[in-house]
């Protein structure tokens, strides 16, 4: 089978089910409830910065495709819960993004180190910004 226009094609194997199950367990969300209405993506204030829309990421998870981890989307998500109040199916998409971040952080590496900041930049920031940033972007 050759990839379609998107450059990707679907393959289904046992690993798909285990990836989906892992995300469902970590997020506590039932991914199959999503009907791809796109409400989360239309409400998200950060889609301009995202490589995939939040609803696209959810679709990848539904299909059990680890490509859900390939885009910057879970890292751009700032957990503002706009998607949560909009989802007509009761999925907390922010929890799914957290599950994806956790899978990446627990398996690989921290996403951002404070060493990348100058001491002037660090001094300007309030603790609330530094701690929340490190809670979200480091394991």
């Amino acid at each position: 089978m050759s990839p379609g226009k998107s450059g990707q094609y679907l393959t289904f194997g046992p690993e798909n089910a285990s990836f989906k199950a892992k995300i469902e367990e970590l997020s506590g969300e039932n991914i199959d409830l999503c009907m791809q209405c796109g409400g989360c993506s239309s409400g998200c204030p950060l889609t301009e910065e995202m490589e995939f829309l939040p609803s696209t990421v959810i679709r990848y998870v539904q299909l059990g495709m680890e490509e859900a981890l390939d885009s910057n989307t879970p890292w751009v998500c700032i957990t503002c819960f706009n998607c949560e109040v909009r989802c007509p199916r009761g999925i907390d998409v922010a929890n799914v993004m957290e599950a994806l971040r956790q899978v990446a952080l627990r398996a690989k590496y921290d996403r951002f180190s404070l060493d990348e900041l100058t001491s002037e930049e660090l001094m300007e920031l309030p603790q609330i910004a530094i701690i929340s940033n490190q809670r979200k972007l480091t394991g």
Binding site: S27, V85, A99, Q127, I128, I130, R135
Partner: protein, 299 residues
Amino acid sequence: MRLPYYPGCTLKTDAQNFETSTLEAAKTLDIELVELPRWNCCGTVHALAKDDVIHYLAPIRNLIRVDEMIANGEIEDGKLVTQCVMCWNTIKRANTAALEDPDKMEKIRGIMEKEPEYSGKVEVLHFLELLKEKGWETITGAVKLPLEGLKVAPYYGCLLLRPREFALDDPDNPRIIEDLLEALGAEVVDLAYKSKCCGAYHAVHMKEVSAELSHKILSQANEMGADMVVTACPLCEFNLGKRQHEIKKLHPEFSSIPVVYYTQLMALAFGLNEEATAFEENTPDPRPLLAEKGLIMER
């Protein structure tokens, strides 16, 4: 009314004006806020991963301190008042999630074996909830200097209103800050972007993204003729206020607008002194505008 109060890290450093104005405004309303003894960091964000246990320790430990205050006879009610929105959300959510999950609570107990067992009876309140409980007429009754002619745009940000289960008010149509401002005599400017994200912790490593998001909110406030924006969160205040120089870099035509904490306007309307309002700690400085409106003395 005597209640334990959890300040959190930023109210002790970058947002001292938020703490000072809160404590002084509370005194005017006969609310004595007693700082929680031996409080520790809340963690700033709720542990969303379902298997997370370790990030519950910090918020639960703070709740144990409230239990101890009751045991020592220092307070009567098991209520904890918070002011920083991120502290409120984090401690409140940890309290709820831990109590709903006995296995998790058991693990937390196991890790914190030297701490007394948490009663599970503490209620986490935001200061705004306390004000609503007092009643807006009571607030109006304490006003000595009505904020007439001051056009104020409330900015809620994310965590006061979301997720829905933990919302302080209707997430789609909040009124609580509007009601407070009207009780103080101010004119409310209703922003469509009042609960859109300011960029939050992206300020650390993606500051242009935060600046763009904050720019949208503040430009709308400018377009709608607001004199200033009020917030209840030190991270919102940082992005919307102190970081306006970053917005100017991206949008040189942007005209700056003061951003203050809602408690500072309470202190002003209650006729409290300059130490209580602490406007000198805000960037941009709101004082020239307030003087122009006749609400403070010209310097």
